[in-house]
């Protein structure tokens, strides 16, 4: 029998459509009545901001390809124009569902729970209207910049992602032609305006409604014929997406003249917008009909995040989880001493990120630490890590920081604090030519009694104390010599030196990582063929690398049981006879964003578990610097396996990929509910409590501090 061609496009799903399914799963959370109402608001807001980003990056990129007449089919055999066509339908459907969720489910329930969102200014009572008008005159009017379009004034540049109000106006007492005017809803003011209310229930109105109501005050000599909000999305990404093939780059360079930078790719308008107004917008912005979204409800649902922030609705939010202390690293301990006792695994956000910050802080102060090196991708504003690194440099330590300026959307932000670090005396490397540095690694070199010892932190998530409260990630603190040597080598390479002869433990992309994965997958296949135990569990954010998927298919046909936990895009199809019968794919979307990458290989019962910064995407494996690290300590391996198994057990937040390409919630008839994220919260709390009570018995003895 001839071997199946595992790379046949029919075995693959298109990544963009798969992404839409992911956003759909987030939307499902917003539709889930078992979730507190305000949490649902948040999920709905997330689907909107996700979609914005998707448009700016992915849709824009496809548009570029079409403009450049680049028609190489994707992994699933679709050309860019075919993809756009399918996406178009899918996105319209998604948006419709977003707004029906908002209008039919969320709005009424908000009202029931004491929050009334005024949909149209016409619904205001007299006194409320008076308040709104006063608010307009005092707060809004001064910051508005109305713009008119006529023969001497061309159509203005409407800024990307801003909310605007377009209006048709006609000079008073004249029967002349109508003119087009537009005004931006100012971003400096809060988009929700609370109205004075009596009793318990609150009322709010959106800023654009107040402006719309008062727009005549901006054009005093004119009559307002009609006024409606609109919003545009531009292809603003000036860089070619790293995900795309190099030959695309060439194509686009050739066609550069044809490419219109910053062209509008989406127009959202209020449903029922005056046809004449819409026509002007469409023509001026060169929009195609398919890219116009007529929306029944407020444009830009990210405003819901602001509503989420309103005070007084705590009962409608989930109580949240406080990241728990890590038993191995109690507050105030000397991290170096503790890590010397054994490797420590951190599971965020169930466990606190504080030890990682402390690790860098202590290293900055410790007189025996000679050097600190770290890669930074995205950091929080006012990051304590940046402060610690700067302090270390001031303390005379050699501090090397690789700052990835190419981190999408964070470029400007990153430049600011990178300059700050440089000023403090750190050696700052601004990324590598042609590669994004995505790995998360910190190295502290310490001079100890018995010689130099290297402490390393390796993680799956960014060094960002803010997102560490929301993203689920794994971190490893170790002073293993083998990993220490590798870590030094990693930083040497990042500083532009040659690669070392041998790597002990770490696998690096773009050097070896893909080969390593293919090797590990194939090894399971060999074992399966020999009739030995063979199993793969992998948890990633996205799976769209053709070679990896083909390897998984091949392993599956050999009998390897493969369970994948893929949060977002998944181009692999399950349930294909003779190809992927042994593969399951599930996606967990919950309060915390699943972010850690964990890989388990049964390896004939000598299990190997790895964690890393890389997804199974071509960009991670080929165009980024990524690190995959093994976790060797049996105790920690068990912990990781427990994490994977818990997620496979989840029947509350997990959706399973079906053979038809859709995702269905796990059928839990006859089974007890199991919510993995909640369970992790509980476990972390218990673990912390147990160690607390254990240590409190010890600390009944006072320990006098002696001078150091």
């Amino acid at each position: 029998m001839a071997e199946t061609d595992f790379k046949n496009p029919k075995y693959y799903a298109n990544r963009e459509l798969s992404w839409i399914l992911f956003d759909r799963r987030v939307l499902n959370e917003a539709r889930d009545k078992s979730i507190p109402l305000f949490e649902r608001l948040k999920f709905l807001s997330i689907t909107a901001s996700n979609l914005d980003e998707f448009f700016m990056i992915r849709v824009a990129s496809l548009q570029d390809m079409v403009n450049a007449k680049y028609d190489k089919p994707d992994i699933a055999g679709l050309t860019p124009s075919e993809q756009l066509k399918q996406l178009d339908a899918a996105i319209h459907q998604l948006v419709e569902l977003q707004y029906s969720t908002y209008n039919r489910s969320i709005l009424p329930q908000l009202r029931q729970n004491g929050l009334q969102v005024i949909r149209q200014h016409e619904e205001l009572t007299e006194s409320e209207a008076a308040f709104a008008d006063k608010y307009f005159e005092e707060n809004v009017y001064p910051v508005l910049t109305p713009m008119a379009v006529d023969s001497s004034r061309p159509f203005p540049l409407i800024r990307n992602k801003t909310l605007n109000i377009a209006a048709l106006v006609r000079k008073k007492d004249e029967k002349k032609e109508m003119e087009f005017v537009t005004v931006q809803v100012p971003g400096v003011l809060s988009r929700i305006v609370p109205l004075p209310s009596e009793g318990k229930s609150k009322k709010i109105i959106l800023l654009e409604e107040i402006i719309e109501r008062n727009i005549h005050k901006l054009f005093l000599n004119y009559d307002i014929v009609s006024a409606h909000p609109y919003r545009i999305m531009r292809n603003a990404d000036l860089t070619i997406e790293e995900d795309e093939a190099a030959d695309l780059l060439k194509e686009i360079e050739k066609q550069l003249k044809k490419r219109q930078w910053g062209e509008a790719i989406r127009l959202e308008v209020e449903a029922g917008m005056d046809k004449r107004l819409l026509k002007i917008l469409r023509e001026e912005l060169h929009m195609e009909e398919s890219n116009i979204y007529k929306i029944d409800g407020p444009l830009d649902l990210t405003v819901l995040m602001q509503i989420y922030g309103l005070e007084g609705f705590e009962r409608l939010k989930s109580s949240g989880h406080t990241p728990q202390p890590v038993p191995e690293l109690p507050a105030g301990c000397n991290i170096f001493d503790e890590v010397r006792k054994g490797d420590v695994l951190l599971h965020h956000p169930y466990q606190t990120f504080e030890p990682v910050v402390d690790f860098i802080r202590q290293a900055a102060r410790d007189p025996e630490v000679l050097a600190i090196k770290q890669t930074l991708y995205r950091v929080s504003g006012n990051s304590p890590i940046i402060a610690a690194l700067a302090l270390a440099a001031e303390n005379g330590k050699q501090v090397t920081v690789l700052v990835e300026l190419k981190a999408r959307f964070d470029e400007e932000h990153n430049i600011v604090w990178a300059k700050m670090l440089e000023k403090a005396g750190c050696h700052v490397i601004y990324g590598l030519v042609g590669l994004k540095t995505h790995c998360k690694i910190t190295l502290a070199v310490r001079r100890e009694e018995d010689g130099i010892r290297r402490y390393v932190h390796l993680g799956t998530g960014n060094y960002n104390d803010a997102t560490a409260k929301l993203y689920t990630d794994i971190g490893l603190l170790t002073c293993s010599e083998a990993i220490g040597e590798d870590a030094t080598a990693v930083f040497n390479m990042l500083s532009g030196y040659s690669e070392p002869l041998v790597w002990n433990k770490l696998s690096l992309a773009p050097l070896w990582l893909k080969d390593k994965f293919l090797y590990l997958i194939d090894r399971e296949r060999q074992y399966a063929l020999e009739g030995r135990p063979a199993r793969i569990i992998a948890k990633v954010n996205s799976l769209c690398d053709r070679d990896v998927i083909a390897a998984l298919y091949r392993a599956s046909t050999a009998g390897v049981r493969i369970d994948l936990i893929v949060r977002g895009i998944c181009c692999l199809k399950t349930g294909i006879k003779g190809v992927s019968e042994n593969i399951t794919v599930r996606s967990i979307v919950g309060d915390f964003l699943e972010h850690g990458r964990i890989f388990y290989f049964q390896n004939n019962d000598r299990a190997e578990i790895y964690c890393g910064s890389a997804d199974w995407m071509p960009r991670n494996l080929e165009r980024r610097v990524e690190i995959l690290f093994p976790v060797d300590t049996p105790r920690l391996k068990e912990k990781l396996l427990h994490i994977l198994e818990s997620q496979l057990r989840d029947n509350v937040k997990a959706s399973v990929l079906q053979a038809d390409g859709s995702y269905e919630k796990v059928d839990r008839r006859g089974k007890a509910m199991f919510h993995a994220q909640e369970n992790f919260c509980r476990e972390a709390t218990e673990e912390a409590r147990n160690s607390d009570s254990a240590s409190s018995t010890v600390t009944r003895v006072f320990i006098p501090e002696t001078h150091r």
Partner: protein
Amino acid sequence: MSTKIFAAIDVGSFELTLKIFEFAGKNKMKEIDCVHRRLDLGTDTYFDGKISNEKIDELCRTLNEFSDRMRAYKVNAYKAYGTSAIRETENTTIVQDQIAQHTGLKIEILSNSEQRFLDYKSLASRGENFSRIIEEKTAILDIGGGSIQLSLFDNDTLVSTQNLLLGVLRLQEYLNRFAVRSSQAESLIEEMAMAQLMIYKKLYLKDREIQNLIVMDDYVSACVVKKYGSNAMLETADYAAFREQIRSGSTTQAAMSLGISEEKVPLVFISAVLVERIADLMGARNIWAPGTTLCDGIAYEYAEKEKLLQGEHDFEKDIVACAANISKRYMGSKKRSDTLESITTTIFDSMKKIHGLGKRERLYLRLAAILHDCGKYISMMNIGETSYQIIMATEIIGLSHTERKIVANVVRFNHSRFVYYRQQTDQSRLDRDSYLIVAKLTAILRLASGLDRSHKQKLTGLKATLKDNKLILTVENQEDITLEKGFFEMRGEFFKEVFSVEPVLKQRKIF
């Protein structure tokens, strides 16, 4: 804290390397950091004679980074050596000074023989593995940018060592110059190499059977280590399979499969061809490429000097063996050499307080004793000058150029008139310190050769004691030593002049 941190810098022809070592307690040498940066100084030097300004700037930039790193590790000491590219450039001193001004680092220049000796020491840093291998008949092939060095070992000792101008960068430059197609490259490398290698075989190898070939280079070793690990002994067949990987396919494919940069592929290729040819020529069965480099040798030497390491291998023995082999080639008498060596060292040791010289100078003296008459192979009349010329033209592994000059001069003045400091001509000029060493050692060697004038080794069992201003040499035997006594007095004049000590020869006849 007893740990010591040491930095070794190698300014090579093709690459700059910094290695940081940690010595935590006795015999604990550990590499803790290593960085390389590619910088092709060799092409400038070998073909333009000078290193360009741009390259010097880049060199200084990288050295500054190195020095930052050394500061971060708080190194206790460092050694920075320049090899052939710096040594052979026309403006060595200027380059050295520029580096010192811009980076504060003092770059010392290694002569070929010193460099090879350090390379060879780097092997010894591998301890047991090395000692085990050289018990069998072994050759070390040390491939550099400008030249290669072939050293033969038998039974734990060095037999011969020879430098051939077949360095990788040199061959590469020829290939570039002749615009060779890649399909021709291999046969051309072979032709260029074999011409010299056949002569080598005739002169040095003869019918010697070599079991093991140890390969040291910055090119192919790295790939071998990557693939097989640093302790792997490859059988020649394995090596051939490895070689095939580089031969077949494009440069890009080779770079991919070896995991190196494309620009390095041609160099690895040349090095690999050389290794294969030489292994073939010698009939070696095993190839060991441990991937050690000059920096390891530098650190090993530092550790030896600081007594941080107790090496198993006796390197002095190698130097002496090397000299003995030179002497043998020029029909020197082993018996006479042995006698002289024993007399000179006896005198040297008893005079420690007076001459104030150390272990290293003692080694010069031994070498001079061994090589004292090599010139007679050319002329019986003018032994001093001819010996000097031979020694200066022959490499003695482990000796710097200056050291070789000292030994050559001691041998020379043993036979011909001593030239005083101010009388020196430009050609063989010695600095003040070296001059004094030469004077002292010459005095001892002259006295000693007087004692063995008859070449009959009558004075075995010589004892020396220093008493007041007299050096009393006592022999216990019944030989007639009239001749020796006569020459002794004659030759003693210079000794007296140098040390203000009068040598006295006493014979105690035992009945």
